[in-house]
């Protein structure tokens, strides 16, 4: 019995410890970054770098998946002879769920793994120690900027993901099934409201922050040399993907409750 309790308790305590570590590290390094001018400057540079690195991968994920959804939805709407409903349905899917979800997963893979690998390398090659020895704050200069930058690029990449998704569904609908161009464009916009856009953007801001926080913490506290860097990047990707999906579920539930209560 004792062993059973220990087996259940150990991962739980591990989770609590990791959560506490991420939370305290994130708060202290974000605060140190936004209150110093060097931290803010570094944040801008890193945000641009991350954005540049993620643009093509996000396009290459958002476009094919949107096209897949479009191809599957054609059959669904054709079964009810309701092809006209296809564009608004696709717009709602892309803006509400598909683009924020998959753009953020791609940010986990590209920016999350990148941040953990960079910080991990700096840890095992003692660059972070060198920064601290010089009397500078490695949290404010190296870790914090990556957390803030990840939160800032989340919504931008979401916009880009929506754009790519909309284009690929346009290609499927207008080229693939000969829907008149104007019909597609007019009814596509009917599917979404400004509120959908704002909610989607807010989600991506939160997801970006989570990705930055988790991967910067895992990278910053890397142990175990070269193999440790790989492990940190691996752990960061897995944890951020799960964390983003969980956060997405929690936010959706919250919004669903607001919807059935008639607030939204």
């Amino acid at each position: 019995m004792e062993q059973l309790l220990a087996a259940v308790g150990r991962p739980f305590l591990g989770f609590v410890r990791a959560f506490g570590q991420v939370a305290s590290f994130t708060v202290s390094s974000t605060w140190a970054t936004v209150t110093t001018s060097a931290g803010r400057r570094t944040t801008a540079t890193i945000a641009l770098q991350l954005l540049y690195r993620c643009l093509i991968p996000v396009a290459l994920v958002a476009a094919p998946i949107s096209a897949m959804v479009a191809i599957q939805s054609i059959g669904l709407t054709a079964a009810f002879s309701a092809e006209r409903l296809l564009p608004p349905l696709l717009a709602a899917t892309i803006v509400r769920e598909l683009s924020p979800g998959f753009s953020s997963v791609m940010v986990c893979f590209q920016a999350g793994a990148g941040i953990a690998a960079e910080l991990g390398t700096m840890r095992v090659t003692e660059e972070l120690d060198a920064i601290d020895v010089m009397g500078l704050d490695s949290r404010a200069l190296v870790a914090g900027p990556r957390i803030v930058a990840a939160a800032l690029i989340g919504p931008l990449l979401n916009l880009w993901g929506m754009f790519c998704g909309a284009w690929s569904t346009y290609l499927v609908a207008v080229w693939g099934m000969d829907m008149p161009q104007q019909t597609f464009i007019d009814s596509f916009i009917e599917g979404i409201t400004p509120l959908d856009l704002w909610v989607s953007q807010a989600k991506c801001f939160v997801f970006g922050g989570i990705i930055g926080a988790v991967s910067a913490t895992f990278g910053y506290f890397t142990e175990g040399g070269t193999a440790g860097v790989g492990r940190a990047a691996n752990r960061a990707v897995v944890t951020t993907v799960i964390a983003v999906l969980m956060a997405n579920y929690v936010i959706n539930t919250f919004l669903y409750n607001l919807t059935i209560q008639g607030v939204l």
Binding site: V61, P64, Q72, A113, T121, G176, G225, T226
Partner: protein, 265 residues
Amino acid sequence: MSPTTSTDGPIALVQERLTTFASAIGFGLRASWAAITKPQPYDTLILLARLLSSSLPVVVVVAFFAGAMLTVQAAASLSLIGGGPLAGTLVGFGGVREVFPLLAAASVAARSGAAFASELGAMKVTEQLDAVEVMGLSPMQLLVGPRIWAAALGVPVCVLFADAVGLVGSQFIGTYQVGIDPGSMWFALMGSVVKNDLYIGMGKGVLLGWLIAIVTTREGMTTSGGARGVGQATNRAVVRALIVTCVTSLGLTYALYGTAMMAKG
């Protein structure tokens, strides 16, 4: 890692990318040949067990939340027209056909693909791969081949688990949170799952696993530059594996469902 390192303008960049692409295809063919002609059953079994034990927990959590998320989102959209159990139909249909296989493959890429790249990368920068070659053995047959088989056999299993857990997650959340009648939710979920879609999902899993292993082992085998290089290789490996997964899924969807539906549409 950053494409900005190329200072020779966009043409050089495109050339570089095309060369990388061509060399990746070359690597894929050689690796597949090595895997098929000289399979290593013992290593494959060990790697398969490791892949399943490390990736399945991730797949289960991801699929559960994906099922839950789809249900809540579908219920929110359908509540306007009072179509509660229809959420089950949507999740059963779209989930089993596309979402769960794709997420299972993405989870394996994130967990085991990254591990393949970082293991082989660490072996490469610490010259263990050279040591293997000096001993007259082939890293392709010894290290890459078993990983390809392990992924090709492991991903379909993960897809099946993802389907099961995703449907159970949808049923659970649909019943307890959204408040749909359990019987009609289960009926809607099961009614929309087609046996062929399950087989197609597993077949997709075999192909995606094969490709994920090729992409990630290639990044590991071509690592250079010490600890930094290993981190960069892991990063590139997961990103490229996810892109290959998505693009291949689109190709398969188009080939399997697209042409028939477009003819109807």
